[in-house]
């Protein structure tokens, strides 16, 4: 299979079939918390894409050259959280200094995702992930791209959720269903819809 086809499979898997939010159930906190308004959802989505891509790159290196080298893979979670937290802090400082405009739109969301389970999830899943032939483990580029596509998948679902919730604001609901209850029902229906993608074999 050519690399482009491989990429297509990876993207479809990360965005639809194995969506981080709706089929892996990771990153549910921002999914419900930051989906009230479309513009903040966009900000959060961009921050997640950015951090997931960066985290995939760095954790791949940490995993390959430290954890596997010294045979301490069981410390993966601690090492990855440490890496991601430090990375996000560092990136936050850099963009605050060099790109104030970007910091204003992204900055407030960055600290929120330092210990986000979706970011940690993509890092851990990358270490065990295989290409579609089932034997070749992900290399550096695969990991980074998988992180990127997973972030895109998260953003797609977050934007869809925000769009629907903004419309729900206009609907008359029983008082007990307003706010979080209807959001959870909505999340359930969306997860069912995405479950349909699992039947696809690419």
């Amino acid at each position: 299979m050519s690399y482009l086809a491989e990429l297509f499979v990876m993207a479809m898997t990360a965005i639809f079939i194995q969506n981080f939010v709706l089929s892996r159930f990771l990153g549910l906190c921002p999914y419900l918390g930051v989906s009230k308004k479309l513009d903040s959802a966009i900000g959060m989505g961009m921050a997640v894409i950015f951090v997931m891509t960066m985290a995939s790159a760095f954790t791949f290196l940490i995993n390959k050259y430290l954890l596997l080298r010294f045979d301490i893979v069981y410390l993966q979670t601690i090492a990855f959280i440490l890496t991601i937290a430090a990375l996000v802090q560092f990136v936050e400082m850099v963009i605050q200094k060099n790109a104030p405009a970007l910091y204003k739109s992204l900055g407030v969301y960055l600290p929120l995702i330092t210990t986000n389970c979706a970011v940690l999830g993509v890092a851990i899943l990358n270490t065990g992930a295989m290409r579609s032939d089932g034997v070749t483990p992900y290399n550096f580029l695969d990991s980074v791209l998988n992180g990127f596509f997973s972030g895109v998948g998260f953003t797609v679902v977050l934007l869809a959720m925000a769009g629907i919730r903004m419309r729900l604001e206009m609907v008359e609901l029983p008082r007990s269903m307003k706010g979080m209850p209807i959001a959870l029902i909505l999340a359930g229906i969306m997860a069912l819809a995405f479950y349909g993608f699992m039947g696809f074999k690419i």
Binding site: L82, M93, V94, K97
Partner: protein
């Protein structure tokens, strides 16, 4: 020999992970400490001081995105210190102190709804609206459910927008603005799809409660409260200080000129002008012992209620006096009192 093996295995089981993770943490810590120095962004301490002085409602009355944005603009953009409506004069003074400038007193304002219709039995309906309960939605359905296309729809978008609980709805379904709670943040002004709400100085008590730009007969035909402004211009001609202008069949008061006399409310043929002080205005009375007969009061009186010769004691005609207090302010001897 055995001890060495045990020591070695202990080291590889405990020592290596500790060293690797410890080194990793140390490295990241050093990088972050270094980065904090290199990429340090100096935040002006005044910005933080101003943010803590502001009410934190993020209402946007200052015209900027939230309190933090306003604080930043004051320090870096030279914004005026008295733009915070909810905070009022007290906050303006605090910010002025932080910035080391003098605060110009801010004119406190309140929101006033410029329509006398919109309740259950003072609105003329075109059709029964049963859609989403929001003025913004209703206004799009065939030009709104009420006959007057300028008037209040009565679906309380302004009440929903109010962050300070200042707007309540009475038994008739009319909105009542609590002047004590209103901070003039302008949220309701922006929420009203028909632009019926305006911010008006709190010490002014005369409002034209209509926004219709229809011609007189048309305005009368559609108004459910029978108090439309028909643009006749009588108020404009009677106003002693020329504060009222009629444009597009609608009278509007210039509150920089208005002296609160309420004369317009008494002459309006459709009673479209509301005068909160009507009936409780005091009349001027000249203390004959203090009066020196300078004629200044007679000259400033907009309704010529004061008469008297030069160097003679002046008198006020109580029936003509409208209680505008113009003469009180001008009298050099402080001889005039409102009773």
């Amino acid at each position: 020999m055995l001890t060495i093996v045990i020591l070695q295995s202990t080291f590889s089981a405990i020592g290596i992970p500790v060293i690797v993770i410890g080194a990793l943490g140390l490295a990241f810590g050093l990088i972050l400490a270094f980065a904090a120095k290199v990429f340090e962004v100096k935040i002006d301490p005044r910005v933080e001081a101003i943010i803590s002085a502001l009410p934190g409602a993020n209402c946007g009355a200052c015209g900027l995105a939230g309190c933090a944005g306003y604080a930043d603009k004051i320090v870096h953009g030279g914004e005026a210190v008295n733009k915070c409506a909810p905070g009022g004069a007290a906050v303006a003074a605090t910010i002025a102190k932080i910035m080391g400038v003098s605060a110009e007193a801010m004119q406190q304002k309140v929101a006033v709804i410029h329509c006398s219709s919109g309740g259950k039995d003072n609105t003329r309906w075109k059709y029964h609206y049963d859609g989403v309960s929001s003025c913004k939605a209703a206004v799009n359905v065939a030009g709104g459910p009420n006959s007057c296309s300028w008037g209040c729809l009565g679906l309380n978008d302004c009440q929903a927008a109010c962050m300070f609980d200042a707007i309540s709805v009475d038994a008739n379904g009319m909105r009542v603005i609590d002047y004590e709670k209103c901070t003039a943040c302008g949220a309701c002004v922006r929420a009203c799809p028909r632009q019926l709400i305006m911010l008006i100085p709190i010490n002014r008590n005369v409002y034209i409660k209509c926004s219709s730009k229809e011609k007189g007969p048309d305005a009368k035909a559609v108004c459910g409260s029978t108090h439309p402004c028909i643009g006749c211009g009588i108020c404009s001609r009677k106003c002693p200080v020329q504060a009222i202008t009629v444009k597009d069949n609608l009278a509007r008061i210039d509150y920089d000129k208005c002296i609160n006399c309420g004369l317009c409310a008494t002459v309006c043929p459709t009673k479209a002008i509301q005068d909160l002080l009507a009936g409780c205005r005091k009349k001027a009375e000249i203390n004959p012992e203090a009066c020196i007969g300078c004629t200044i009061c007679a000259k400033v009186c907009p309704v010529t209620a004061i008469s008297g010769e030069l160097k003679q004691v002046h008198t006020v005609d109580k029936d003509t006096c409208i209680g505008c207090e113009q003469c009180v302010a001008k009298c050099p001897k402080k001889a005039i009192e409102m009773v």
